[in-house]
């Protein structure tokens, strides 16, 4: 998976305007070529080790496991990567690809700002011009990350169209790309977009799962029983899941953002409560109304506030290989506080959704069973949101 034109069953594919077809073909050819190029792989691996800080630890959260009284919880510490989340695994790979392809200008979309920061970081390091599109609503709620991107030399464009969140940032980045196709490389941050992005971003993120598998075997002597990860576009989740897909005894659980609750309609849970459709270059589950218009999404976490999801997740859902559940804003906050107080680790609000579901799941499992939870990012960027929510002025 996927097939040559990017299909995961009925999902995925290439659904873009004609002007983008040639750059997508060029990207796909370069990606296939360099994926098989030992020099490219060696350069990327060296960057991941010395610049990103990989491998990231797999940490046995013993106190929290004991408190919950069920399965042993292991945290995959993507929060300890350079720039504070899993996003940099992918931007390192794509930026090296951009360099090999001779592109001089990098663009990206961002929601929470983690992908924008990770992109601005690698662009700074490689001396490439960088423009990051970010919904105006997200610019306001993630101002720390906006400042970080600016410090790194990126131009941050606040997108005022539509719902002014991640989906609109993606629209605007696509408009930029179509206008500047000759010199510009578009670094998509999640496993969405037209082929080859969903497969390529997955392959760059799959290091999360490969390391987890090896570390779990080393530490516990066996494979885990369940993997838990939050799903917005789904890059951290697919990165963890992918190397385990053929290990059928390992449960794969993706946690979507239920916002105020799926029943209220104010959520970001297309796999749990959406329908198949086409947006941003691929067919997948979407939050869309009966007329096919995209519905505005809601989540306390800007990184999960997206109406679509990677097409491979749509396929994993339909085939039953993975299970998708949802966690409300309030439950995510409980997960946030629990991890912070029990283990001294402040998770990102995105990752807090995975923590909250783990709190429900672990007590239903035996003490000799193992859950690996992807701690995809750290919570420093969310201090303003948390403080505001709790009525505290910083």
């Amino acid at each position: 998976m996927p097939d040559a034109r990017g299909h995961f069953g009925p999902y995925g594919g290439i659904f873009v305007a004609e002007t983008l077809i040639p750059p997508i073909q060029e990207l796909n050819a370069a990606y296939q070529r360099y994926l098989a190029d030992p020099d490219f792989i060696a350069e990327m691996d060296a960057d991941l080790q010395h610049y990103v800080g990989r491998p990231s630890p797999l940490y046995h959260a013993e106190r929290w496991s004991r408190e919950l009284g069920g399965a042993q919880i292991y945290l995959k510490r993507e929060d300890l990567n350079h720039t504070g989340s899993h996003k940099i695994n992918n931007t390192v790979g794509q930026a090296l690809l951009a360099k090999r392809m001779g592109k001089t200008r990098i663009i990206a979309e961002t929601g929470a700002g983690q992908h924008g920061v990770a992109t601005a970081t690698v662009a700074a390091r490689l001396g490439l011009e960088c423009v990051v599109y970010m919904g105006a609503v997200d610019v306001a709620r993630q101002s720390l990350n906006v400042y970080r991107m600016k410090l790194l030399g990126a131009t941050v464009v606040a997108v005022e169209s539509g719902s002014k969140t991640l989906k609109d940032a993606l629209n605007e980045a696509l408009r930029d790309w179509v206008t500047n196709v000759d010199n510009t490389f578009y670094i998509i941050g999640t496993v969405a977009g037209p082929h080859p992005y969903p497969a390529m971003v997955r392959d760059f993120q799959a290091i999360i799962g490969r390391e987890s598998k090896q570390q779990c075997l080393e530490q516990a002597g066996r494979l885990p029983d369940a993997l838990v990860a939050c799903v917005g576009g789904g890059s951290n989740a697919i990165g963890l899941f992918y190397p385990f897909i053929d290990d059928s005894a390992v449960k794969l659980i993706g946690v979507e953002a239920a916002g105020d609750g799926v029943a209220t309609g104010r959520h970001s849970a297309p796999l749990c409560a959406g329908r198949p459709g086409v947006l941003h270059g691929n067919r997948t589950y979407l939050m869309s109304d009966d007329d096919g218009e995209i519905i505005e999404t809601h989540s306390i976490s800007a990184g999960l506030d997206y109406p679509g999801v990677g097409p491979e997740h749509a396929w994993l859902k339909d085939t039953g290989r993975a299970e998708y559940v949802n966690i409300t804003d309030n439950e995510a906050l409980e997960g946030f506080h629990a991890l912070t107080r029990m283990e001294g680790i402040i998770p990102a609000l995105e990752s807090s959704h995975a923590m909250a579901y783990t709190m429900k799941l672990a007590p239903t499992m035996r003490q000799d069973e193992i859950i690996i939870v992807n701690l995809s990012g750290r919570g420093d960027k969310d201090m303003q949101t948390m403080a505001k929510r709790e009525g505290i002025e910083l």
Binding site: S161, V278, E293
Partner: protein
């Protein structure tokens, strides 16, 4: 023969080029659209492209994005756009109408239901911006079997291989996107367009309409000298946007612009 084929054949015989306006259905208000369509026909347009409002118009510049937003604020949809086209058809059996929009509203309706609805509304062509030919096989077959022309885009960076693909799958006309960019962009280069058109014309006899960057009588005339038709969209919608409180004035300004384009193209 389809209404589009008949139209382009008659134009060719007369040595004229097609003037093709684009407006978004339901902008600035649903009451505006059908009467605007009739008025444009009176001003001498040959084919009407009717934009289907979509929440996420990725290939469009800010002017057409805002037109979609205004239309959606009035609860416009693909279904209501089809109703408008059917309403127009009641009193105009000659002028071809082409729906232009994005795929998701069609996916939501279902390809077969959409093809049937397009046939009932007597739509002549469908141009789906984010549906390249590789993914369009099923939808194309359903449309063609109901007498609706599937219309594809070609771009400045399209290869010979893709030109042949569009020529084989598309009918009615091919929409040549004259520049790398979004609708309403301003950097049209006539020499580049001319060179590309020669390459395209070598591969297909399907008429070529040129859009993106056509904004006044002068650009319309230049484009008409190269292709088989000129598409104008953002320049018209700008008139709507400048006169949101006075739709009748917007209509007058649109007619004045189209009249000047018609005159320039025919001279």
């Amino acid at each position: 023969m389809s209404r589009l084929a008949t139209k382009f054949e008659a134009l060719a015989k007369a040595g004229r080029k097609a003037l093709i306006p684009f407006i978004t259905a339901g902008d600035p208000h649903p009451d505006f659209t059908v009467s605007m369509m009739h008025a444009m026909v009176e001003a001498g347009v040959d084919v009407i492209e009717l934009g289907v409002p979509f929440s996420d118009p990725m290939a469009d510049g800010p002017v057409i994005q805002r037109a979609s937003e205004r239309a959606l604020a009035h609860k416009m949809s693909l279904r209501r756009t089809l109703q408008m086209a059917a309403e127009f058809r009641k009193t105009d059996q000659q002028t071809p109408v082409v729906l232009m929009g994005y795929l998701n509203p069609i996916e939501a309706m279902g390809y077969e239901d959409f093809a049937n609805a397009a046939q009932r509304a007597d739509i002549d062509g469908v141009l789906t911006v984010d549906l390249p030919p590789e993914e369009a096989v099923e939808c194309c077959a359903l449309l063609k079997s109901r007498g609706v022309d599937p219309i594809f885009l070609l771009a400045p960076n399209s290869s010979d291989e893709r030109i042949k693909m569009m020529a084989a799958m598309g009918s009615g006309y091919i929409y040549y996107v004259s520049l790398k960019g979004v609708t309403g962009a301003g950097h049209l280069n006539i020499q580049d367009v001319e060179a590309k058109l020669q390459q395209i014309k070598a591969s297909t006899s399907v008429p070529i309409a040129i859009g993106f960057g056509v904004k006044d009588a002068e650009t319309a005339k230049l484009i008409a000298g190269i292709g088989d038709g000129a598409v104008v969209g953002s320049a018209l919608i700008s008139k709507i946007e400048a006169n949101l409180d006075e739709p009748e004035r917007a209509k007058d300004e649109i007619i004045a612009l189209l009249t000047s384009m018609r005159r320039a193209m025919d001279s």
